[in-house]
């Protein structure tokens, strides 16, 4: 065998020979996500592992994604539907439902903002997606990453890459997307409304809430049980006051470990064939519409509450109903303070905001049941 032949054989065994144009495109997309994470600080905890996962699976011949490969094993956590509920366990341990319990009527605002999900479902169906795909795209409007990943992994696994990227990108863009929608729908007088202080709630209420919510939700929307159950278990750890170790682990070490695996696994779904398509562009457009409609629906119900309460409710807090904790509540605080510098709406907006987490998980359960 000549030396040249050996060199030629070696070349065909390298990744260079197998690298397709699509792979090169996806390496650029992976690089872009890492750039957005590091330079722009857009959800870096997720975009960095997602971007790197996309790079890993677009380097050919490694077998990393094939059955028995490293990513194939890591992806088990999504295939089985385990990772998103584990993230929710940590989210529950981090979430203070106090502002919601103090003003339970704000739960309605968290529900109204889910309207973006159902309107986008119709829009996606009209554009030719089947029901399972349309439902997975629509859940982007719930503004909740783990919920979007959970629902998509159950219904339309092949769209996981674009849907997760759209969901996390828009969450990072909440401070840009929401204010124009809020301002278009409210008057300055409404935005200036100062609300009464959020009062502390008793420990007994805080402990009973996660238990009773789990029972009520699981009976009403059984398919939402994995997400709501873990969310509320985490919250019970937090509020019980006697298992600080479990609460701290759920909201730090555990959620960090799962986030690493979840990010890499999501990134691994970004193959050129599945990502570089017209569908991805449509998903990104529909996701934006879902966010805006959700913000608008929440704000409009907020306006109704403003009228019913004779001006005691600032309608903007409805916009915080789109989950995306705590970004959406921060937006309300900022826009409110711009209208009235002495106005501090942050805690009032946290009520609908945390209600939005419950609302989008329940919406996911409803969509799962409808698709079932």
């Amino acid at each position: 065998m000549s030396i040249l032949r050996i060199i030629a054989d070696f070349f065909t065994s390298t990744g260079f020979a197998a690298l397709s144009l699509g792979n090169i495109g996806m390496l650029a997309v992976g690089g872009l996500l890492i750039y957005l994470g590091i330079a722009r600080k857009y959800e870096p905890l997720l975009l960095i592992p997602i971007g790197f996962g996309a790079i890993l699976v677009n380097l050919p011949l490694s077998g990393i994604q094939e059955e028995g490969g490293l990513i194939w094993y890591i992806y088990f956590g999504i295939r089985s539907g385990i990772f998103p509920p584990l993230i929710f366990l940590g989210v529950g341990a981090m979430t203070d439902f106090g502002p919601l319990l103090s003003k339970p009527q704000t739960f309605l605002l968290g529900a109204a903002a889910q309207f973006g999900i159902f309107s986008t479902l119709l829009g996606a169906k009209a554009l030719g997606f089947d029901f399972a795909e349309a439902a997975s795209i629509a859940i982007i409007g719930g503004a909740d990453g783990p919920t979007a990943i959970y629902l998509t992994s159950r219904l339309a696994d092949h769209l996981l890459g674009p849907i997760a990227v759209a969901a996390y990108s828009y969450m990072a863009l909440v401070p840009i997307i929401q204010p124009p929608v809020i301002r278009a729908l409210t008057t300055k007088k409404e935005r200036m409304v100062v609300m009464s202080e959020v009062k502390p709630v008793s420990r007994r209420v805080r402990i009973l809430f996660p238990i009773l919510t789990t029972i009520a939700t699981a009976l009403l929307v059984p398919a939402a049980t994995p997400l709501i159950g873990m969310l509320m278990l985490g919250n019970l750890f937090r509020e019980a006051g006697v298992v600080d170790r479990l609460s701290k682990t759920a909201q730090n070490e555990l959620i960090n470990i799962v986030t690493i695996f979840l990010g890499v696994a999501v990134g691994s779904k970004m193959s050129a064939e599945e990502f570089l398509t017209l569908k991805t562009i449509m998903i990104i457009g529909l996701g934006l519409a879902a966010f805006m409609v959700g913000t608008a629906a929440g704000t409009l119900l907020g306006k109704l509450m403003y009228v019913i309460s004779k001006g005691k409710v600032n309608p903007m807090i409805g916009a915080a109903g789109v989950s995306a904790v705590p970004m959406a509540a921060r937006v309300v605080q900022k826009v409110g303070q711009k209208a009235n510098p002495g106005n501090f709406l942050l805690m009032n907006a946290m009520g609908p905001n945390v209600a939005g987490v419950i609302g989008s998980a329940i919406a996911a359960g409803v969509l799962l049941a409808l698709a079932g």
């Binding site: 202080e197 959020v198 705590p326 509540a329 921060r330 605080q333 303070q337 510098p341 002495g342 501090f344 942050l346 805690m347 946290m350």
Partner: protein
């Protein structure tokens, strides 16, 4: 609203205007500007950075 005092922008003897940011507090990892409700001279600052403060609590006295 409950939060932690992050930075105090004025001290006793300073002249402040209405709407001027006199204090920055932090809640939910967000910096929130607290404006002065009136114009006057700061007589006393009642809190220090790191203090947890609640709604309606006195932060400073402005004459």
């Amino acid at each position: 609203m409950t939060g932690v005092v992050k930075e105090i922008k004025v001290g006793p003897g300073h002249t402040v205007e209405e709407g001027q940011v006199v204090l920055i507090m932090e809640a939910m990892k967000m910096d929130i500007d607290v404006p002065s409700p009136l114009a006057g001279i700061v007589a006393e600052v009642s809190v220090k950075p790191g203090d947890t403060v609640n709604a309606k609590q006195q932060l400073m006295v402005i004459h």
